[in-house]
């Protein structure tokens, strides 16, 4: 037991005390409080929330919509009328950035948690059931991990190019769950040997009920962490793909397509590149900070709880 671990120094109450029943403190509530206390969580969560709201409400604040072309202002640097400047056909960069942001955020919010859910199910089943199923799933995961996800998505892009961006979302989820599934599997395997799981087995609780009642809630914390971190990771993947023309296709706009358009002119007209890039980085950074703060609060093996 750690020297600094106050849980070894227990509360001074007699065993069979009678006291006013306190409100039960569920672990979730305790953790939430711990998380919100850290600066990282407040900054990360706050910024993320702000960006999400801004992406959808922000366009309403600007007089320009993203398809408008202002004939009087081609390739203008940021000004009072065009906050982020304009591109070579007079489109307002602010409006375009926000529309791109909307798409990227939606993709991130679907793919992050989506991949986490799949990883949770596959990992928990593999870890709990064991045996042949486990070996098969592990082998399948290893197989999927041989070729990097980016390569696979590039190679598969003709398949979803003609479909809507939702197909891209599906593919991102398909290739994003593997590493987390391995972690969940490891966690499940150690949970399976935990005494309360053994106790449930010996009570006669059926296997799937055990997974549902005991395993999943106890790996849920890992899933939440990775769902949050996954938002950022998904946005990065999608942006990179779209940059090279393999992700979101015209007429849809994402931050990646904007960056692609702006990269060639980046030297002479930096505002076309810098604004979308900065917003992209801020969004991903916010989700990383929040995810990291969650990890420190929930995962006892992370760095925050040590000397």
């Amino acid at each position: 037991m750690a020297l600094t671990d106050p849980s070894t120094l227990t509360v001074g109450e007699p065993e069979t005390m009678r006291d006013a029943p306190k409100r039960p403190q569920s672990r979730g509530r305790t953790i939430l409080r711990k998380v919100l206390a850290t600066k990282r969580a407040r900054i990360g969560g706050g910024v993320l929330l702000f960006i999400i709201l801004w992406a959808f409400i922000g366009p309403l604040l600007s007089p320009w919509s993203f398809t408008d072309q202002d004939g009087l202002a081609f390739s203008q640097p940021p000004s009072l009328s065009h906050w982020f400047g304009t591109n070579n056909i007079g489109q307002d960069v602010y409006a375009q950035t926000l529309v791109g942001l909307q798409k990227s955020i939606v993709i991130g919010l679907i793919v992050g948690p989506g991949a986490a859910i799949i990883a949770g199910l596959v990992g928990a089943i593999a870890g709990y059931v064991g045996g042949v199923w486990d070996k098969a799933i592990v082998w399948l995961i290893d197989l999927l991990l041989v070729i990097p996800g980016f390569f696979l998505l590039v190679l598969l892009s003709p398949a979803f190019k003609s479909l809507s961006w939702l197909a891209l979302v599906v593919f991102l989820v398909l290739f994003g769950w593997m590493v987390l599934a391995r972690v969940i599997r490891g966690q499940t395997m150690s949970l399976r040997e935990r005494e309360y799981v053994k106790a449930a087995r010996f009570m006669g609780v059926p296997g799937f009920t055990i997974i549902r009642r005991h395993i999943i809630p106890n790996v849920a914390s890992l899933l939440i962490i990775d769902a949050t971190l996954g938002i950022g990771a998904a946005i990065l993947s999608e942006t990179t793909l779209s940059f090279f023309g393999f992700g979101v296709q015209a007429p849809d706009v994402s931050l990646g397509t904007l960056l692609a358009a702006g990269a060639s002119a980046a030297v002479t007209r930096p505002w076309l590149f810098v604004f979308p890039a900065a917003i992209l980085v801020i969004t991903v950074l916010a989700s990383s900070l929040l995810g990291d703060a969650l990890r420190d609060a929930i995962d006892p093996t992370s760095g925050a709880n040590r000397d």
Partner: protein, 701 residues
Amino acid sequence: MTDPQATAPLLKVDDLSVTFPNAGTPVHAVRGVSYEVRRGEFLGIVGESGSGKSVSSMAVMGLLPTNAQVSGSIRYDGVELLGQSDKELSKIRGRDIAMIFQDPLSALTPVYTIGQQIAEGLRLHDSALSQRAAETRAVELLKIVGIPNAERRAKSFPHEFSGGMRQRAMIAIAIANDPQLIIADEPTTALDVTIQAQILEVLQKAKDITGAAVVLITHDLGVVAGNADRVAVMYAGRIVETAPVVPLFREPLMPYTIGLLRSMPNMAANQQERLVPLEGRPPLLTTVPTGCPFAPRCPIAVAACLEGEPALLPVLDGPVEDPTTSVDHTAACIRAGEIADGSLRRPEIFPRPDEVPEELVAEVAPETVLDVRDLTRAFPLTKGVVFRRNIGTVRAVDGVSFSVQRGRTLGLVGESGCGKTTTIMEILELARTQGGSIHVNGVDTATLSKPDRRKLRSDIQVVFQDPMASLDPRMTIEDIIGEPLTVHGVSPTEIRSRVGAMLELVGLEPSFAGRYPHEFSGGQRQRIGIARALVVEPKILVLDEPVSALDVSVQAGVINLLEDLKQRLGLSYLFVAHDLAVVRHIADDVAVMYLGRIVEYGPSATIFDDPKHPYTQALLSAVPVPDPEIERSRQRILLNGDLPSPSDDRVGCSFRSRCPLFQLLPAEKQAVCERDDPRERPVDGRLVACHHAESDRLVTA
């Protein structure tokens, strides 16, 4: 008549306090501790978890975390240690003061060989020593601590050693530079009891060779009784009593010590009595206590006890025949004088609880509730990550037979690797066995259909060892206790009322049902586990080391509870433990296991009073008894070496490699042991698996 040794203590700790800031809520782990260690003395520091015993020793070595706030004075050989830099202290560590830690596996670096780690200790304090010379000396040290094949072993890595061997290596590291003071922090807590006996002997040998003083920190009063010259008892961050070892055990003066001694199951004491429980828990040390920290739990506390913490003062009792003894005996209790002069009698301070009154004892008809015949269970030993291949089998359970009667307790004892846990797991599966049969309530488990099995599960339930891990941290107590009922389709309202009844039965408030496990102490959690097991009204309770993870003062309460429940509800227990004192107390029958076999089986009084199998004799002689006179006069039977690997193929008796009796036998009798596998046979009212059980007795005391 002053003793020259007494004038210059080797280590003098004065008013030591250690506080950990801990993110806003400071923890006062050590509060004003003062003690002395004289040259060549053996001091035992005893305390439970949270008493501050380890922290105060870490402070002496200067090994506390950097954020710890330390104040007071620690003088070693006249030199003040507090306030010295890490560099200066590191010159003293390993040379003048050495330390032995609790868990040898994690205490040794996994990537360096044992020899390298010992040599490191040598070379750090003698820069002139060459690597070759240091390694040679390392091998010598390994021989001194009794490691066979020392040259080869020095090149092994820590994970290739057994627990006992690793601890010997730790002792070798500690004595490498002939220290003056050795601090041993729970050195045997993680070891089996026969290995513990070996290690304590090595520690004594180390002390004799180096002439060092030893400070042994432990929670086990038995270990202290057998080895220490003086004892200090710690509670809530302070020393509450110090005395030479005999007066401490004979005439303890601080109520905590009295309670502790009376709550420990003692192999030599009367088995029919209940243990004396200590209610409550030690205080949380985030606030400095205003009164005596033991007052909430103390049966003789008065108003004055809450006004200020009692100082540790010498207690002078009436007769002054031996002035040094009484001056040496200090206690932190304002009523210590009353205890010393006899006006407060110890048995009255902590009276024994009564047994269950006759009329509440359940009537049970004698029947066999559990019968196990020739049970075997083997595991394949595989190597390789991708293509596994079998390189042998581990015969974890190798032909075990016993039965449990209604209303009686069978204790299954043995050390790690004997197969007792595997045995009960096999029983709990309620399935077809690899070999042999299991009958629960007369029903053969191999013949069960799935619905039958589910029904039978309500007859046999389990309580696990670790109270932290046996309750799902995300469920409320009500859900946890009610879970077995969900399997049998009981309605939620019914569940709620039964949960309430269960909580009362185990001595907890029914209003606790809405809380979560982390809000409870270890002892309370174990009671919850018991409540969960009993909610379906089983006939048999299987208990896997139910009290070994609890503090000593808490164990008594849980053991008493188990006894009461057994009598009230007519339960049968299958009790697995390695703590023989507990087993002796609670079990009616005992089966001793070694390497997957039962070596001795019979009524517990018969076996404990007169063990016939050499292993049982060695086991019983190794258990420390908290009575210094008995401990010091006992003849200890030490087993050689370590447990052989359970996957080895053995011809003849599997115990002979370590059997003390085997060493003494003439050649033709030895041949029988080498040739024939002993089967259990009746000898003197119990079953023994030894060819020569009638031979000379090895246990003398």
